[in-house]
């Protein structure tokens, strides 16, 4: 298998457990100092000009275009001051690159609606033109986001049979037989005892962590965890400590300190300790080192919650997520959580694990009595996507998609790294963040890539750190080699125009200077 060969080539230290992968595949190159200095100076200039503009607005030389705080006497202010300052003076200046409306299904290609603005992004007008572009921003990892094919046929037929909404919660009349089918299929896919599904992926985290942890418990979550996990942890009322991203020594130190010192004032032992990690982190593209965390968890008798939102279906030789990638026993992880939004082309989330835990969640989850259950077309889309991935429909389309994704990811990532860009994350993750540190370059990269026919997602503060803005590519199995070549050529031109080649480890090279044969022979 080609994948094993490349891992052995780059594998410097082998895990004693005989795993095929090592940690040396993860890479976070350091920010070059001059880039950080220029970024901070740029933000300083923007802040100074923001103060000047706010002053002009306050004295009346310029009209105020944002929502005004009513400011009645003796009331607490409604808006937080720095957030509004940032939105008024920095975000609005480049607002045309965020939240771009689209006019087609967000598959491998997408039609982006063109927006024009005459007053510097305070108001927009649609020009009516639709720009066909390669979609590098959707989490469409296995290419199921299409409006034709067996999945959408099944979804439309189910609307005729079951209607659009169940109009009820799970505890009342909302549990239908197709949800039970989905849950048993999903638990078979993950090789666990039982599973429960919810209508919204964010709500799966936010409403179920309170059912698992409460006052007197400890939650240890990674610093870069998603907002839904942080919200769920806060709602639960448990104490939350964070550990540095993917840092096993830090996690062990905090575990030991927690067990030794106990609860903060009373020094009583914690009732339980829950470690929350994610399979693939969506802003860095890094994988968690699951075997080491499982070793720690067994040693200190803690519980483990793995959020596989981006990794289910996209990582692993059979597409079963990080559990499949690291080849660990699924029974070692107490709670598997994931979403259907990314790889299955649908919506919703699931929690899977031992039957006793799932039965407890079925009763005590907040969404059981407060949110509507999943609707029929969504469930049938997932069921048909799952049967394709598992090979139940008779073809090997599912395995082909998984291999196509792995190929695409390797091809794209290697070429970007060889061209001299700083790319974060694990070599196998389909999320490819390329660093652009300066705030003005965020807008420049997005606009130039759109001109060349690639719709990308560029992120800055507050989704990332202030000095670490990036452009995040999400590779899909629906992308063909020509599309990836087009995207790489566009990125090469944009990288030259905007000067994005920061890497010190790889020398900056143009796309035509790379040896085509090296990459083509790995791509089948």
């Amino acid at each position: 298998m080609p994948s094993v060969k490349t891992f052995e080539k780059t594998n410097m230290k082998k895990e004693p457990r005989g795993l095929a992968h090592s940690d040396s595949l993860e890479d976070f190159e350091e920010t070059p100092t001059w880039a950080a200095v220029i970024t901070v100076l740029g933000y300083a200039l923007l802040t100074a000009l923001g103060w000047l503009r706010d002053f002009l607005r306050n004295i009346g030389l310029e009209d105020k275009k944002t929502a005004q705080e009513p400011n009645p006497k003796d009331f607490v202010p409604l808006y937080q001051s720095y957030e509004c300052f940032y939105t008024r003076n920095l975000y609005t200046r480049i607002r045309d690159v965020f939240n771009q409306p689209i006019a087609s299904v967000a598959g491998a290609t997408v039609q982006v609606m063109e927006r024009l603005s005459t007053d510097f992004n305070w108001t927009f007008k649609f020009s009516g033109k639709k720009l066909p572009s390669i979609n590098l921003g959707s989490y469409n990892y296995l290419g199921f986001a299409e409006n034709y094919g067996p999945c959408s046929d099944q979804a439309t037929k189910s609307i005729e049979k079951y209607g659009i909404s169940s109009c009820s919660t799970r505890h009342e009349l909302g549990t239908q037989h197709y949800m039970k089918d989905l849950e048993s299929l999903m638990s078979e896919y993950l090789n666990v005892e039982d599973c429960i599904t919810f209508g919204m992926g964010f709500a799966t985290n936010a409403l179920n962590i309170p059912a698992l942890a409460g006052k007197g418990d400890l939650i240890l979550s990674d610093k870069l965890n998603h907002t839904s996990l942080i919200l769920g942890a806060r709602l639960s009322g448990a104490a939350v400590y964070t550990f540095n991203h993917n840092d096993i020594q830090d996690l062990e130190k905090r575990l030991r300190n927690a067990i030794i010192h106990g609860q903060p004032r009373t020094c009583r032992p914690w009732k339980k300790i829950l470690i929350i990690v994610e399979g693939v982190y969506s802003m860095e593209g890094s994988l968690c080192s699951l075997p080491k965390i499982i070793e720690l968890k067994k040693k200190y008798k803690a519980y483990l919650y793995v959020d596989e939102a981006h990794s289910i279906g996209a990582i692993g030789s059979r597409g079963r997520g990080v559990v499949d990638y690291w080849n660990v026993d699924p029974n070692d992880i107490d709670i598997h959580m994931g979403t259907f939004t990314k790889s299955f082309g649908s919506a919703g989330g699931y929690i899977a694990g031992k039957k006793s835990i799932i039965d407890h969640i079925r009763i005590y989850t907040h969404s059981g009595c407060y949110s509507t259950s999943m609707s029929a077309p969504i469930v049938f889309q997932i069921i048909s996507a799952l049967s394709i991935i598992m090979g139940r429909d008779g073809t090997n389309d599912g395995q082909k998609r998984i291999q196509q994704l792995a190929c695409n990811v390797r091809y794209f990532r290697r070429q970007l790294v060889d061209m001299g860009f700083i790319v974060y994350g694990n070599d196998n993750s389909p999320v490819v963040p390329v660093m652009i540190f300066m705030p003005a370059k965020i807008a420049a990269v997005n606009r130039e890539m759109l001109k060349r026919g690639c719709a990308v997602v560029t992120v800055g503060f507050p989704a990332t750190l202030l000095t670490e803005s990036r452009v995040r590519f999400c590779i899909s199995a629906g992308h063909t080699k020509e599309m990836l070549d087009h995207a790489l050529k566009a990125m090469d031109e944009v990288g030259d125009l905007v000067a994005l080649r920061y890497s010190k480890r790889n020398s900056p090279r143009r796309w035509h200077e790379l040896n085509r044969a090296d990459y083509d022979k790995e791509y089948f």
């Binding site: 220029i38 100076l41 200039l45 510097f120 705030p439 003005a440 807008a443």
Partner: protein
């Protein structure tokens, strides 16, 4: 002595490349100082301030440095 002249056509493309290079440099200046996302009057304000400070520094260097260096040499010797 044989001088090699560039033909008229090559000179035209060289001039075009030169102007493209200047435009690229201007774009780098705009991007790195975050002027790319500012309105035209803000760009004018900042550029005027920058050119003012730089030209004052260069002028003072030209006028005062020789005298300073000479007095320093006299102090040392």
């Amino acid at each position: 002595i044989l001088d090699t002249y560039t033909t008229g056509l090559e000179m035209f493309s060289n001039i075009r490349r030169f102007f493209k290079f200047i435009h690229w440099l201007y774009l780098q200046y705009l991007l790195n100082t975050a002027l790319y996302m500012l309105e035209p009057w803000e760009r004018l304000l900042f550029s005027t301030l920058l050119i003012g400070i730089l030209s004052t520094a260069i002028y003072s260097a030209f006028v005062f440095l020789p005298h300073h260096v000479r007095s320093l040499m006299q102090l040392i010797s």
